[in-house]
Every structure is written in structure tokens, then in C-alpha cells.
Amino acid sequence: MSEPESDFELVKRIKKDPSAFGLVYERYITKIYNYVYYRVGNHHDAEDLTSRVFYRALTHIKDYSDRGVPFSAWLYRIAHNLVANWHRDHARRQDLALEDVILVGAAFEMPEWVAETNEQRRWLLGAIRHLPEERQELLILKFVEQLSNAEVGQIMGRTEGAIKSLYHRTLLALRDELLKNVEATETRSDEPATGDELEP
């Protein structure tokens, strides 16, 4: 069986024959879509931005040259820039839908467990969305895209060591947030009930 064509060879081919772009599209559509979806939080904008990423890539692929930056990193950079522009334009809008990641399947069997897990996930997604942009990007690339630290470093333009360090700091920051949230929840549940609730 022949080896799949490398990105480098594929890009060379596309430069001569743009109709080969479909192969790049098939290879990266799900990855780019996931990246964008987790950055914007809804399917409508994720589809719109993903389309723009590929249109832009097709238009500018002739300018791409492999100077130590793999093609995938170049594609993610386009996505990153478009998402950053989107966030700038939608600064006041808070979209936290992310409906696909919320459990629904087991709701009939274990409704309480599902509700609790969904609550935890909603909280976690909210906490992630409040992290600085580069930390969100890091978590998405590591967990959703399942890239190695070296690959994440190439996409984010940092060294592998810097990525590990940022990852570590991000986890500790999230843990502190989580502990604060738990404390706040406990404090709320310890508060005495209001008079209204005591009335018959």
C-alpha cells in the first residue's frame, strides 16, 4: 500500500494544480471545524469561519512556503486570525452553547447523574472560555485535536518547553478556579433559608 502524500508534497501539487485542494480539505475539515467550534461555541459561526479559513487558504496557498512551519500550522494560524477577528467583532456577545458536548443520551436512565455531569461540564467550558486566548487555544489543540506539545508549539509559534510550561500554569489556574467555585457553592448552600421560603 502506498504511503499517504505528505502535506509538503500535496501543497507542491496544489501550486501546480489547484484542483488538488480537495485533498487538503478532506484532511483538515474536521480538525479546523473542531478548533473553530470550541473557540466560538456555536455551529453557525463555526461553519461560517471554517468556510472562510478554507477559502483564504485556497487563495493564498501559492504564497505558502515551508520555512520550518508545517502546512497544518499555517492553516491553524489562518483559523486563529479569523477567530481573533470574530471575537473582536463580537466582544459583547457571550455565546456558551456548545450543545454537542452536553450529555443527553443517558438522561432517561440516570437523570440526576446526567444533570450533575452536564452542570460540571458547563462550568468547565465556561471556565475555559474565560481563560486568556492563548490558554484556550492550547487546551483545544491538546485535548480536542490531541496534538503533541511540539505540534502545538509549531502552531502557536512557541518552543515545546514554553508550551509545557503554559499548559502547567493553565491547569493550576483552572484548578484554583475550580476550588473557588466549590467554596462558593458550599457557602451558598450553608446560608440560612430566606423568610419567604419558610412561609406556608
Binding site: K16, D17, P18, S19, A20, F21, G22, Y25, E26, I29, T30, Y33, N34, Y37, Y38, H43, A46, E47, T50, S51, F54, Y55, L58, D100, V101, Q120, R121, L124, L125, I128, L139, I140, F143, V144, E145, N149, G161, K164, S165, Y167, H168, L171, L172, L174, R175, L178, L179
Partner: protein
């Protein structure tokens, strides 16, 4: 410093600080066989482990809608086929190099022919 403060700092130090060690440790704890007793972790580390697990469960890949993938793919294919480079742009450089190379060959041959002609003329004059 109080005893509570000291023990808190000691607990915090137990979290692996070196990133490589930390990654290895997390991988180890997350794939720990369920039929074996889990190692006892200090509360802070336990929270961190739980957080990692939650992130793995929450940040899962999603599939884009099939209609969207198909329509965008078709649209890009159409756009790509329109972007086929015209003949002049595609082979322009090769044609230029070809003409330049042919010109060079013609020049060299011309110089050679002129030199040969001069030599022949001289030899005729000398004979006469």
C-alpha cells in the same frame, strides 16, 4: 509559620513541578487500571487529576454537519478549478528560459561561423 500553613505548603510541593515529570505523572494516573487500588493523592493533586479527567471527557471532538462539509467541498472544488493557471502563467517562465537558451546557442554558433568565415577568407587571400 503555623503547622497548618507548613503542611499546606508541603502538600503544594508534592505536585510535580517539573513539566516533563508532571506530564508523565498525569498520563500514569489517568490510565491507572481500575481493578487496582488507586494511589493516595493529596487533595490538591486529586483535584488536578479530576480536572484533567473532566477536560478529557468534556473537550471531545465534534463532527461537522455532513451537508456543510459536502457543500463547502463542492464550492471549493469549483473555485479551485477556476483558479487553474492560464497557459502563459503556467509555462511563461519555461518559455522565457527556452528562448534565452536558444538565443545563446545561436550567438555561439554565429561567432563560430564568423570566425570560420574569416579564417577561410584569409587562407584564400594568402593562396592568391
Amino acid at each position: 509559620m503555623t503547622d497548618a500553613g507548613r503542611s499546606q505548603r508541603a502538600a503544594a510541593r508534592r505536585i510535580p513541578i517539573d513539566e516533563t515529570e508532571f506530564e508523565a505523572w498525569l498520563a500514569e494516573t489517568l490510565t491507572f487500571p481500575t481493578d487496582m487500588p488507586r494511589p493516595v493523592l493529596d487533595p490538591q493533586t486529586e483535584v488536578l487529576r479530576g480536572l484533567m479527567q473532566s477536560m478529557r471527557d468534556t473537550l471531545v471532538p465534534v463532527e461537522p454537519a455532513q451537508n456543510f462539509v459536502r457543500d463547502l467541498g463542492q464550492s471549493l472544488t469549483m473555485m479551485a478549478s477556476q483558479r487553474r493557471m492560464p497557459f502563459r502563467q503556467r509555462y511563461g517562465r519555461a518559455i522565457m528560459f527556452g528562448i534565452a537558451a536558444a538565443g545563446s546557442v545561436v550567438s555561439v554558433v554565429s561567432v563560430g561561423a564568423y570566425w570560420f568565415y574569416r579564417r577561410e577568407s584569409h587562407s584564400h587571400l594568402e593562396q592568391n
